[in-house]
Symmetry: C2
Subunit: 234 residues, 2 copies
Amino acid sequence: MKQISRFSHFGELSDKDYFRIALSVDCVIFGFEDGELKVLVIKCNIKEYKGMWSLLGDLVKPDEDINSASYRILKERTGLDDVYLEQVHTFGKVNRHPAGRVITTAYFSLVNIKDHQLKLSDNELHWHPVKDIAEMAFDHKSILDTCLDRLREKVDDQPVVFNLLPKKFSLRELQSVYEAVLNCELDRRNFRKKFFMMDWLVDLNELEEDVPHRPGKLYKFNAAKFAKKAKKIS
Amino acid sequence: MKQISRFSHFGELSDKDYFRIALSVDCVIFGFEDGELKVLVIKCNIKEYKGMWSLLGDLVKPDEDINSASYRILKERTGLDDVYLEQVHTFGKVNRHPAGRVITTAYFSLVNIKDHQLKLSDNELHWHPVKDIAEMAFDHKSILDTCLDRLREKVDDQPVVFNLLPKKFSLRELQSVYEAVLNCELDRRNFRKKFFMMDWLVDLNELEEDVPHRPGKLYKFNAAKFAKKAKKIS
DNA sequence: CATTTAATGTGTATTTTTAACACATTATTG
DNA sequence: CAATAATGTGTTAAAAATACACATTAAATG
């Protein structure tokens, strides 16, 4: 009685049964502002979670790569085009979405908040301090937690935090990003030493301006060092 | 002209458009045998990849958690019930499956090959040395590579390799699992020192048998130390 | 039973990495 | 010109990772 299935090699159900699941992508977009790590959230407009914060997400289109879907969401919502984005985990509890079966793949992204103040005030979009979010719509809090954990692992050995900063930054700013992400205090001297040792920074021979104290030097990320394949000879 | 959608809050397409994607789970099941890391594969039976090795996978059922789906696959295919399983990555290229749009979530698993020789010879199931697999059906080679990378990161700081061994094992066996996974040679003295330091092992006060040389002591994994939450005071 | 074999079991010195820590300097503010 | 609030710099100690050699033991051999 079973109908012939395109996926008969998979198992016993008919095609129809398998197309009752929708797939979405949710983006945890991290930014850094006022010394705090923030996440871009939006007021939820479905009745079950009315008024609660939720992540930016959308359903994946049938002819769309999931990675492309995540870039599309970022582009549509923040206007940013060329940003850091990494897949983290797929959340597939049966009842995670009240409207039906939706499995979602979570990505995290790192952006420089100043770069897109434009598109922001449009909706109910909002940069929320990560520390202060206790509750979110759907399973989004647990998605956020998972992405934050991944971010913390990542910053320990890969040069990704630069995506949170403007092109030019001081060592103080860099350190405070790390402190915000890792939620800890770091020793300033060891921090500087480590970064010069790793050769991740390029000295721009410029100084901070408009600070009420001795200005610090400005640096940029040594992108050349990480272009495509890391050079063997440093 | 658009039809009313359950997912209208997501975007602009109608429900119908979003249910053209199927979701599957693929399991990279690692085992250890003859000093080699192996992966459980099956001869592919769809025409585009006829005869090539593929991973064990199945479509996720509409009322099934994706994690449950991965456990189900493992149970169905290997008979094993209580095994280590970890989600790694979701692969969502549009044309990764010739039969249609199938997005797949990859899990890796660690099992003791000896524990389930039974169900094996059934089909075209086969334990294949990981080193020797150059090509696989679909994007399964890249799934395998991704899972192997993850496994290598994991074994560095978490006690997971014990899942590849029988309950009782010698330090030599333990070391050779690490060497097989990491594809490198380790110093025997430092290896032993490190494991005793970490307190991951329980000395069983038993010796190997039937070895043509001085028998080594047998140990088991110190599971108590990692029960639920790691104890603070060791 | 003595010898050979092939592994196990053990400790120390060296190097590298990480962590702890204090004071002089500089531009701005008042 | 004094006070402020940060920047910039080096050394020492502790911890972790690495390199390395020899005596011991049970089984197998003749």
